[in-house]
């Protein structure tokens, strides 16, 4: 009988939410979030495919450093499928033909651009998210409670045998629900941004904006 729980708990560890890295230890989560968001805007307006690719690689590296491991396969699949589907509508210079079907340059560029920008966006937004991100106000409390429940549900053991499935799910739900705490959750003391953290953020933001501004000069 397979246990759903262990896999999910491991996944929780895998996402590296609780992993200690330079970024999680030296930068306040809210600051990291705001700082990284400041990079998103110039990224979206990049024109050169090369720059997009470089910045995407940059954030993949940052995420790898932050989390210790990274899953690139989904991103690769996304890029490949975007290129594939965009190639289906041929536009531009014909590079070669597969059988009768033309593979065109402009369509390829469009597909690549969409794929790389999408992947870059995802990497940037992943880098921005950290544990203990405080959401202001009532929404914040709700979100906080949701995640608290989520942690507890994920820790439950569920019997996957079909005849017992509903019962075991039912029991797990009852258990978590009945012991749900409604008080205001204590936030662990937020990490304060160190000098090196600030230097890093500044460097990251500057780099992103420089890449963006260079384009205006070079074209």
């Amino acid at each position: 009988m397979v246990q759903v729980t262990d896999r999910n708990r491991d996944r929780g560890r895998e996402t590296g939410m609780s992993r200690k890295s330079f970024f999680t230890q030296s930068i306040n989560p809210n600051t990291l979030f705001l700082g990284t968001m400041a990079c998103l805007l110039p990224f979206l307006f990049l024109r050169s495919l090369l720059f997009i690719f470089i910045e995407m690689l940059l954030f993949i590296t940052l995420n790898y450093l932050k989390k210790g491991k990274i899953k690139l396969l989904p991103s690769i699949i996304i890029i490949v499928s975007l290129v594939f589907f965009n190639l289906l509508t041929p536009v531009g210079k014909v590079l070669f033909r597969i059988g009768h079907f033309p593979i065109t340059l402009t369509a390829l560029t469009i597909g690549l651009r969409k794929g790389l920008i999408l992947t870059g966006m995802v990497q940037i937004s992943k880098f921005a998210m950290g544990r203990n991100l405080h959401f202001p106000g009532k929404a914040g409390i709700l979100v906080g409670r949701t995640f608290a429940c989520f942690d507890r549900i994920t820790a439950m053991k569920i019997d996957l045998a079909p005849s017992q499935l509903i019962t075991s799910i039912d029991d797990a739900l009852t258990k978590v629900y009945s012991t749900m705490e409604m008080g205001t959750e204590e936030h662990p003391a937020a990490v304060r941004t160190t000098k090196y953290g600030k230097i890093f953020l500044l460097a990251m933001i500057s780099l992103c904006w420089i890449l963006f501004l260079i384009q205006g000069i070079n074209l």
Partner: protein, 179 residues
């Protein structure tokens, strides 16, 4: 249902959505964008337990929660999943409101799956694939129809068998599900 109870239930169901989404992520699929829609189960259940406004809040929590967990909150992918979840949530709410007792979890789930696919195809058309989107449509609708039906069936049985569910229904709700 008292407001204290619903304040407890809403984040709980949202957490359940996230958990089911995580489970679904773990299941290997032939094509990555074919969703099982497991995360819709708590929403269907909520239609029988909560007020419409509360279900709407639940949907928002689910969307934001998924964005936070996958880390894709600020990307086109989020636009994709958010529009799907939002559309399917609204469709299920609408169908429930419109048909009341005459529709079971099966119909609700199918409505949600259809709306989800339509919304996602629309986003795909405008943002990602352009005219090549039409080739994906049949696959999405077929898998959506099948998984929607199966999920509805499962939800139906769950609501019938779950003691937890029955205990909450008994606290006095807008609609009573017939046992």
């Amino acid at each position: 249902m008292s407001s204290t109870e619903s304040r407890k239930l809403i984040p709980f169901l949202a957490a359940l959505c996230l958990f089911l989404a995580a489970v679904e992520y773990a299941i290997p699929k032939p094509l990555p964008f074919l969703r099982l829609g497991l995360a819709n189960l708590p929403i269907i259940i909520s239609l029988f337990l909560l007020k419409p406004r509360e279900t709407l809040l639940l949907i928002f929590l689910k969307i934001i929660g998924q964005g936070l967990i996958t880390g894709t909150l600020f990307s086109y992918i989020f636009l994709f999943s958010a529009s799907g979840s939002f559309a399917s949530g609204l469709a299920m709410m609408g169908a429930h409101r419109l048909f009341g007792r005459k529709i079971s979890a099966i119909g609700l789930s199918l409505a949600g799956a259809a709306a989800n696919n339509i919304a996602q195809l629309a986003v795909a058309y405008f943002v990602l694939f352009g005219s090549a989107t039409k080739y994906i449509a049949p696959i999405l609708f077929i898998s959506g129809g099948i998984t929607g039906f199966l999920l509805g069936l499962f939800t139906d049985r769950f609501m019938e068998r779950s003691k937890w569910f029955r205990s909450l229904i008994g606290t006095g709700t807008e609609e009573e599900k017939q046992a």
